[in-house]
Amino acid sequence: MKELCCKEICFSRSQFGRGEKAILDQVNCSFPAGRISLITGITGAGKSTLLHIVAGLIRPTSGEVRADGSPVSRWVTAHKDLWRRRTGIVFQQPHLIRGLTALENVMLPLIPRGLSLPEIKKRGMESLEKLGAGHLAGEEVKRLSGGERQKIAIARALAAAPEALLADEPTAHQDDESAGRVLDIMKKESEGGCIVVIVAHDHRILKSGIADRHFTIECGRVCRVR
């Protein structure tokens, strides 16, 4: 995938009898491969919503998301399901499945992809080790700290070698060292030709200068800062 592109994206939510609230308004932006794009903005600005629209998790009210020119946001469920396999998403909350170990959670995206179980396990383990979380492989996720859970969530997003990595506050629960490691991984993924989109409040990301492109969201509109 060479580019993900948002064209005239609008998104509004109904407010239970109080009409509709516009979250995104005529958003136009593009995220090329081999570049890290950073989206910042105040709380409630619609950063996560934009990320979820790009990832194909929700449909925009109008406008479309294009992947190499194909309108993926308009695709029917069956095609969109397959499209999501090309992306890796890190949620603001880790969203790990309870009752499974860290490694099992990381293996989840690989299970339906026709690989053998030992191969899935190997890739899962590699992904965990990238994050320096190999020692957590056998731990049940409920026993892990917030930062450790976030690492597992990042490892899960990376496990299937996505063409687009979409990360929502990936360093929020990390100390400086771990945050640096996470950003290094993002950089490597980007250098490998992956589209990396980071949504963050974290000033450490901005200060690190890792982002090739910087967007801000204000009043539902996206402006490119750099």
């Binding site: 469920t77 399901d81 999501r84 396999r85 969203h95 299970i111 992809r113």
Partner: protein
Amino acid sequence: MRRIRLIRPIHVWAMRDLLRRPGEALLLGLVLTLIVAFSGTALLLTQSLSSTARRMIGHAPSLVIRKVGIAGWEPVPENPALISARAVPGVTSASPRIWGFAGGPDGAVTVVGAGEGLECLPPGVGIGRLPQEGEAIIGEGVGQLKEGDTLRLTGSVSLEFKVFGRFPEDTGIVAHDVVLLHKKDAMPLLGLPEGFASDLAVHVFNEEEQSAILPDLLEAFPWPVRITTRRETAGYYAASFSKRGGIVVTALIPSIMALALLMTYLIRERTGQKHEVGLLKCLGWTTSDIVKTEVSRSVIVALPAAAFGSLISYVIVLRPGTRWLGALFFGWDGLPPALRLDATGAVLVLIEIACLVVVPFLASALWPALQSGAADPQDLIEEME
């Protein structure tokens, strides 16, 4: 050549997913097993009783002719009756039967008088030789007597016999309360004069021509007779089993309710886990993958449960020598007969009941998965936030 893998990671995941809540999975399997076992037992019982009855009726004579008098049944004069019956076109054979009821040690028994052959007993009731005068072969339900003991029977007269043998246990369904005597002993006991029989067993050339032969037979006898056809006997059994079928349906109500409750629980439980489906979709699982997982999960629970439940009902109903069925369904006063029911069609019944239980179970697991599959993943995982 590409190797086909029967167990795929998605199946392993389904198993792992079940093991996240092992107690719940076990309980689900147990409830399903009990539902299959309970429903299977009820339906298998009706089916087995029907096929056993059909088998028994298959061995019965085409027609049974009894003489009717002012006071009811009367003994049939053997020779004139045989001559009359054999003269009717279509009749292939006719033989007099000596049987009736007498008082035994534990209540009424069915006395059968043996002539030269064993045609008085249905095939399968294997005994070495016929009893001599003063000897008796008894069924299992005729008192707690051993070989060599004395059996006292009371009918028109009171007589004592030496027990010379017992009918095998597996003949209980036909010979449980039977006492087989020599013809010369049975006749005075049943009050039959010399040259008379209880009734006449008639076999016809073509079963389909029974209705055509009946008027000829009625006319052939110089006295009033009542003729019972094999079809009438079958009708009697059918009516009897329809009545028991009603009992079976009543017995099935708790099973159906349990299944409905189980389905409701499953739908609610799986609907409550929509966020997990949403999360899997976010991670690149397709609706088809989710459905496959749900099917695998359900099959892992339902197949062993259906197999084990079917096995339980098979053993309960068709285990040789089952006694409780006789006590329950035939109201036996004393020792109930050890039934050996016919297993014909049992597999089909068990497959039917397994499908009737397993299919709704699968549907209740699939419905939420299909519903969730069509939704946007974000909407599903928002429940988690």
